[in-house]
């Protein structure tokens, strides 16, 4: 029973990090209805930034969050201005899918070229080694911090989207684009903010994931796919849905690894996803 609870807590903590990685995708999707297939690759970039700030400059991964957040915000803004804006204007669905795949291939192989395909991980993170015990359930300190940071970020984003003017404009754009433009909102600017914010959240997620796992140029694809799954599972455009879905995915992953076998953990994630997709094909858990 203890093992069961421990797996549940560990899975839920990991799931919070997945949820954080997926929230950016849900914001971007909500506002401009574009699937960013390069999402995971931006996350991979953030993980590299976090890794090298630790190994070269000695910055603790927790404190590299502002750096990764800032760098990714700028990267997101640049991507939007140079590529996404033009492709959105063309209004051809296929090219919108393909262009982000082009970005993904470029980033993935660019990092492969610069950093080599080696796996990199931060071994002993200062004052985060060992684990804590909550009522007899052990949780690694890193995973606890990751869950905490993710939770705070998710709440902050939720507050931003639902309580501030800019956030409400983003939400309104997702609901009725023409109407928002009709009342005089500069749609391009809102899209720029949403895209930049969506990519910047990956900065936080990247620093968090760097504390618990490794990075290589190929990890982007897998995390990207998990993020898509979380978004589709939770319902496109729904932040609470995405968080719940992220936790479901994390728990599924850990339970499968524990009770069936680690080689099947991704199979289980996608099977759960497909089942929910068949059950509620248009909405996911909480979509509208």
């Amino acid at each position: 029973m203890d093992l069961f609870l421990e797996a549940l807590v560990n899975g839920a903590s990991l799931g919070m990090a997945y949820a954080l990685a997926a929230i950016g995708l849900t914001i971007i999707w909500g506002v401009m209805e574009i699937i960013n297939f390069a999402h995971g690759d931006y996350l991979m970039l953030a993980m590299y930034i976090s890794f090298f700030s630790f190994s070269l400059l000695g910055i603790h991964p927790l404190f590299s969050i502002p750096i990764t957040f800032g760098v990714l915000a700028v990267l997101g803004a640049l991507t939007y201005l140079t590529i996404i804006k033009g492709v959105l204007k063309s209004n051809v669905l296929l090219s919108q899918i393909v262009v982000t795949f082009g970005i993904s291939i470029f980033l993935q192989n660019g990092t492969l070229f610069v950093f080599s395909p080696n796996f990199r991980a931060i071994a002993n993170i200062p004052w985060l080694t060992g684990s804590i015990s909550i009522g007899g359930i052990f949780l690694p300190k890193t995973l606890f911090i990751v869950a905490l940071v993710s939770l705070i970020t998710c709440l902050a984003l939720f507050y931003f989207i639902h309580r501030t003017t800019t956030g409400k404009t983003i939400l309104a754009m997702a609901m009725d684009r023409e109407m928002v433009q009709l009342v005089g909102v500069n749609a391009d600017r809102v899209e720029l903010i949403a895209f930049s914010l969506g990519i910047a959240t990956l900065g936080i997620a990247g620093s968090c994931l760097m504390m618990v796992t490794y990075v290589s140029p190929r990890v982007g694809f897998l995390y990207g796919l998990i993020a898509f799954t979380a978004v589709a599972l939770g319902g496109f455009g729904s932040i609470p849905g995405t968080i719940i879905a992220g936790v479901i995915i994390g728990v599924t992953e850990i339970f499968t690894a524990l009770y069936i076998g680690p080689e099947y953990k991704y199979v289980a994630i996608f099977v759960v996803y497909l089942l929910i997709l068949i059950w509620r094909p248009k909405k996911g858990l909480l979509g509208w």
Partner: protein, 337 residues
């Protein structure tokens, strides 16, 4: 009936003759390999376009059909000694079965939901094949080299000319079949369901039926080419025949050339396949990934210049030439259908 002397027919005839003579003049194995890759990706792109371009289902799971085709013919060949010529049809058939198994549960999904579902299915398939020891698991399978009867075993070791003609034949059959199907009532139903699904359904078009037909056609030809690829490389493991990279390449080639047209995927393959092979050879030595980096950049640039694919870029000059040849305007506009 078009006149046989029309410039379009003459141009196609000329290209065919050049392609038939190609392996006799360019004997180097690399030159032939590049063309084999062009034909292979053109067939795969065409097969993708049946569901991607005409039924609007952006399948990222094509590699699953490809892998199933490759594994089926190889297992039949190795365990039962069945010739790959029969194995190819069995491979295509197994891919159709898989396609139908995927098609039923995803019948309600559209657009991005289908795209992500197909991507997830591919990852599941790859993981299952990697852990299935009967078919070699992660180690993969090496097909034993047999020398005495090249045509029966579909193995050519002295020169690649045999492979060249086989895959060229497969491409021609794929092209003619998809062309005939897509200009028949099936194609019209598919495009009606693509443009206005609810209207078409209310007029009695069976969405599920035509979707399954499209998936079956696409799966068959993809699995078929997968069987050929197994014989060509003589080695298969899950990442190489079922990997996500293959799926992405297929989708990119079709869309890069121009989706929804007959010549688009062929054109995409004719441009991208040599580019991938050449950049791999030229830039591969400079370090990992540089060749694919340029590929990614090229795709982004093309999407910004002409989102409808290369075929729209060249349609204008081609039409101009055709007009000079005194042909009715717009013969090649986007190709048929």
């Amino acid at each position: 009936m078009k006149r046989l002397t029309s410039p379009k027919i003459m141009l196609m005839g000329l290209v065919l003759v050049i392609l038939l003579l190609y392996p006799f003049f360019l004997k180097s194995s690399f030159a032939q390999h590049v063309m084999i890759m062009v034909f292979m990706y053109a067939s795969l792109g065409l097969a993708w376009d049946v569901i991607g371009g005409h039924a609007n289902l952006f399948s990222f799971g094509q590699a699953a059909f490809f892998g199933v085709g490759a594994y089926t013919s190889t297992m039949l060949y190795m365990k039962l000694g069945l010739t790959p010529w029969v194995g190819m049809f069995a491979g295509g058939g197994m891919a159709v079965l898989l396609g139908l198994m995927i098609g039923f549960p995803t019948s309600n999904l559209r657009g991005h939901y289908f795209a992500i579902a197909s991507l997830a299915l591919l990852v599941v398939m790859e993981a299952l094949f990697t852990n299935w020891t009967f078919i070699g698991g992660a180690k993969g399978i090496s097909i034993p080299v047999v020398n005495d009867r090249p045509w029966l075993d579909m193995q050519f070791h002295q020169t690649k000319t045999g492979y060249y003609f086989i895959i060229m034949g497969l491409l021609l059959i794929t092209m003619i079949t998809t062309w005939l199907i897509l200009r028949s009532w099936i194609g019209f139903y598919l495009r009606a369901l693509r443009e206005a699904p609810d209207v078409a359904a209310s007029l009695g078009a069976n969405n599920l039926l035509y979707r399954l037909i499209a998936i079956a056609i696409s799966a068959f030809f993809t699995g078929w080419v997968g069987s050929f690829h197994a014989q060509y490389v003589l080695y298969l493991d899950p990442p190489s025949v079922m990997g996500i990279d293959l799926s992405v390449r297929i989708v990119l080639i079709a869309i890069f050339g121009g989706s929804g047209t007959l010549w688009g995927p062929v054109l995409g393959a004719a441009i991208l396949a040599p580019l991938m092979e050449l950049s791999r050879v030229w830039l591969g030595g400079l370090g990992y990934g540089l060749d694919h980096m340029l590929l990614g950049l090229l795709i982004v640039i093309l999407c910004l210049i002409e989102p409808n694919g290369v075929i729209k870029l060249i349609a204008q000059p081609v039409n101009w030439v055709m007009n000079i040849a005194k042909v009715k305007k717009g013969v090649l506009e986007g190709g048929t259908p």
